[in-house]
């Protein structure tokens, strides 16, 4: 029997959550006032959890490294949020959303958690509308839905291309209400640098005030980590510049197991890199693939001519183009799931067909869509004799109405008009399905320490479907954690305030201060970014879209060497007791340098291909699926949860076996 207990309630899948809620221990309102909860991170998960816990009466201390909770990176999510409302009457249901999510995750998520997620999804929409979130509506004044990749129903609610922003501002407004009431004490521009354990339980954190550099002790009866994912281990990703894994990594080092670090989502439609100075990548909504056709030239001569500027993509005839997704996946074509589309782009570019100077770009072409829509409009308008230019204009208007803001964003960044010349896209790191291991209660292996949102691992398995991240963040924060945390805190009603003048806090503080001083006094000769870029390069080349044993072994040793060099030679200018962005970065990169190695180790251990994790050794060898990812359900239907033991290479693997009672495991086929 594994040391891991998922604490999934017994009984029928469909009634587990209801039964759980019926029997969970509650804390009475008067006692809630005596209990403090720390929430680290104020994105969708942290923001919604802070607001809800405060509403219930707990004293919440919320922390974010930005200057306001409203700036958390959930704000950048574009597409939408899934919910099993079945407003479109197209056969959607809780079960179907659950099924799609488990299947989309390539059968590597925990059934009970996903079912609960699907169950509360409808409440999220109700809650957000009541909060004043301006979701898109149809002319009848009812909520509109769109369809997203990999599913057969329209269940995605959206607010233009800024759904994440609107949902986050909704959570932020709920927080503001509680801040005004004094129930949330907000610590902006604070970074959690360690968790404090007393008698084995999480009882507080050590945080640095980023303005003054002061190291502060904060105590609470429970600590909630909602600090997002670790995509920035790649340096270049669609994450915000400040997005980091420090809070998650610190709790890992203090005893929380880290699950499935190798599950990373690489999003296929991002704006390509333009040079070495690139600081981050910008995502273009997946919805573009509904109308865009992806291609590269068939001949390498044309590729060369395009790179040298002698030819333009529009010069190439249809016969000279290779619509490789349509060629390889006739059934789904350009709408294959994210991981498949990304790998196919990489395959073409690795073969030398990349169309920009860096060789890492493919075309996303809207010409066919413009003409198709143009002809349709001409028919609607009764213009039977419309010439090509007129048809183009009519079609362009339709495309502009659908994707105008994305096209404008592209033009601002790339300085090319995507209506006239095909867009260039390339995959980029976008989301990390892996994270801190949590049980059904969302509690980590440290009692009293919880992880929610992207920071935990539970709901997306090996691959996340579009519009599911927002759903999970808000489900955890608004509707799951507030119940489950009460069960734990009901034992703490007599504990009283946790003092911070204890040896445990002192020791943790000293550890943090020592680490900071070591950086400041190091006086090395390379900047933090120098190391971060090197790490990113190793991760991208060897733990990126496809992985193999040799590369992963190299990555493990290269990261270790890089980490040692980092501690010897990193240069952190400025002082500890002031606003010092380089110092902030140094601490984060130090953690990435450990996480990256564990990542590679996890990827090495998992010799199957599943979801975002593609092992070159594990592919279909023949038949219709030849060359596609081959999952190994016999040997790998488990969660890899790593226990920290010093160096990442010493980490111990614990397996949580996954049981699928309500779903039959199948191969994902898009041919």
């Amino acid at each position: 029997m594994s040391v891991l207990d998922s604490k999934v309630p017994k009984g029928d899948l469909k009634t587990k959550w209801t039964n759980y809620k019926d029997h969970v221990n509650l804390v009475n309102p008067a006692n809630k006032r005596k209990i403090d909860v720390i929430v680290v991170g104020t994105g969708l998960a942290g923001g919604s959890a802070s607001a809800t816990l405060a509403e219930q009466g707990y004293n919440v201390k919320a922390f974010c490294y930005q200057d306001s909770p409203r700036r958390a990176h959930s704000i950048a999510a574009q597409g939408g949020i899934n919910a099993a409302k079945n407003y479109q009457g197209d056969g959607d249901s809780t079960y179907r959303l659950f099924y799609d999510t488990v299947k989309g995750g390539d059968y590597r998520s925990r059934e009970a958690n996903v079912y609960r997620l699907a169950e509360v999804s409808a409440n999220i929409i109700d809650q957000c509308v009541a909060q004043g979130v301006p979701f898109a509506r149809d002319y009848g004044g009812l909520l509109d839905n769109r369809s997203f990749g990999g599913v057969l129903v329209s269940r995605t609610f959206y607010a233009k291309g800024q759904t994440g922003q609107q949902l986050l501002l909704g959570a932020y407004s709920a927080m503001n209400r509680q801040i005004a009431r004094g129930k949330i004490e907000m610590f902006n521009r604070h970074e959690m640098l360690d968790v404090v354990k007393v008698d084995g339980k999480a009882r507080g954190i050590i945080a640095r005030n980023l303005i003054t550099g002061e190291i502060e002790r904060h105590s609470a009866h429970a600590v909630v980590i909602a600090s997002g994912g670790y995509g920035n281990v790649y340096f270049l990703s669609t994450n915000a510049m400040g997005s980091n894994a420090t809070a998650a990594w610190k709790v890992h080092k203090k005893g929380a197991f880290f699950a499935n670090p190798c599950y990373t989502q690489i999003h296929p439609t991002c704006i390509p890199r333009s040079g070495d100075y690139q600081s981050k990548l910008t995502l273009m909504s997946e919805s573009l693939r509904n109308d865009g056709r992806i291609w590269v030239p068939k001949s390498l001569d044309d590729v060369k001519a395009i790179r040298e500027g002698r030819k333009k993509p529009t010069d190439l005839s249809e016969e000279e183009r290779d619509y490789y997704l349509e060629r390889r996946y006739p059934a789904f074509g350009n709408l294959v799931p994210r991981d498949v589309a990304s790998r196919a782009a990489k395959e073409r570019c690795d073969a030398g067909y990349g169309v920009n100077a860096t060789g890492e770009a493919v075309y996303l072409d809207f010409k066919s869509a413009i003409i198709r829509y143009g002809k349709e409009q001409a028919k609607i308008k009764g213009e039977d004799n419309a010439n090509d230019a007129r048809i183009y204009d009519l079609g362009k208007d339709v495309v502009e109405a659908k994707y105008g803001n994305l096209f404008q964003m592209y033009e601002k960044i790339v300085d090319e008009n995507p209506y006239k010349t095909p867009m260039m896209i390339y995959p980029a790191v976008h989301y990390t399905m892996g994270g801190i291991w949590v049980d059904y209660n969302l509690m980590t292996t440290i009692p009293g320490c919880y992880a929610i949102g992207e920071a935990n691992f539970s709901d997306h398995g090996a691959n996340r479907l579009g519009a599911s991240a927002l759903m999970q963040g808000l489900a955890d924060g608004y509707f799951v954690l507030p119940y489950t945390i009460g069960d734990y805190l009901s034992n703490d009603i007599r504990t009283g305030k946790i003092p911070t003048d204890t040896p445990e806090f002192a020791a943790a503080e000293k550890e943090v201060t020592d680490r900071i001083n070591a950086f400041i006094n190091n006086n090395g000769n390379h900047s933090v970014d120098y190391y971060h870029k090197k790490l990113g390069n190793i991760m991208w080349e060897k733990c990126g879209m496809s992985r193999n044993e040799k590369g992963l072994k190299e990555a493990i040793s290269e990261i270790k060497t890089l980490r040692e060099d980092f501690y010897k030679n990193v240069n952190v200018p400025g002082e500890a007791n002031e606003l010092n962005k380089e110092l902030e970065k140094a601490g984060r990169v130090a953690d990435f340098l450990e996480l990256g190695e564990l990542f590679a180790k996890d990827a090495l251990t998992r010799t199957e291909s599943c979801g975002g994790h593609f092992r070159e050794e594990s592919v279909e060898l023949d038949g219709e699926q030849k060359g596609e990812a081959l999952r190994d359900d016999k040997n790998f239907t488990f969660v890899s949860a790593w226990e920290y033991k010093g160096e990442p290479s010493d980490a111990i693997l614990h397996k949580e076996e996954l049981e699928f009672n309500d779903i039959e495991l199948k191969q994902r086929s898009y041919k």
């Binding site: 409203r70 990176h73 909060q131 004043g132 009812l142 510049m241 100075y277």
Partner: protein, 248 residues
Amino acid sequence: MNLTLKIWRQKNASDKGKMVTYPVTDISEHMSFLEMLDVLNEQLIEKGEEPVAFDHDCREGICGMCSLYINGEAHGPDRKVTTCQLHMRMFNDGETITIEPFRAKAFPVVKDLTIDRSSFDRIQHAGGYISVNTSGNTQDANALPIPKKNADLAMDAATCIGCGACVASCKNSSAMLFVSAKVSQYALLPQGQVEATDRVLNMVNQMDLEGFGNCTNTGACEVECPKGISLENIARMNREYLKATIKG
């Protein structure tokens, strides 16, 4: 490209601060403005000088963290972009670029180009919300149809990213566009009606207490707003305020 940068340097809130000139070389026109500053900072660190502190996070124009006043304009010379979306192709080789923090009494400088915009948060605490608990038992989201036009207008107002370019651009350092965007979003939705009176009075009151200036309708805010928030929102807030005053 090679450029000359004149940048505001200020050690901390109590330091007086001054403009300092830096040359910066090997800039690609495809870089974003912040990537250009990254290059400068790398060069400064190499020389053993302290890098320039500036706020930034998402680098895709949505978090509202970046707050630079470039060549006399909030977020620089381009329109409907934040500083992170401003690209160097907007500038000429050999150009001198001045970079200052957003300035207002209510936005004190923290360090160099980093400012404190917590006044915006406090305005939101004063009423930027609808008082509904997270019970999961609110009425069904489709129980109350909202005319598409109003939903769209509310969305347009809600796209505000709270960067403060409106305040920075306004000759009066007025925060009316920011406050009116939130007031408008809720005023346009039925869910916002219950608390409409208190909301507009309290938010305007807090705005005044924070030391922002008075609006004189110059319209600079609308022009410089990276999200194109319309002046119509300010007119709507004025109406709401009048209504609230009459209602008491």
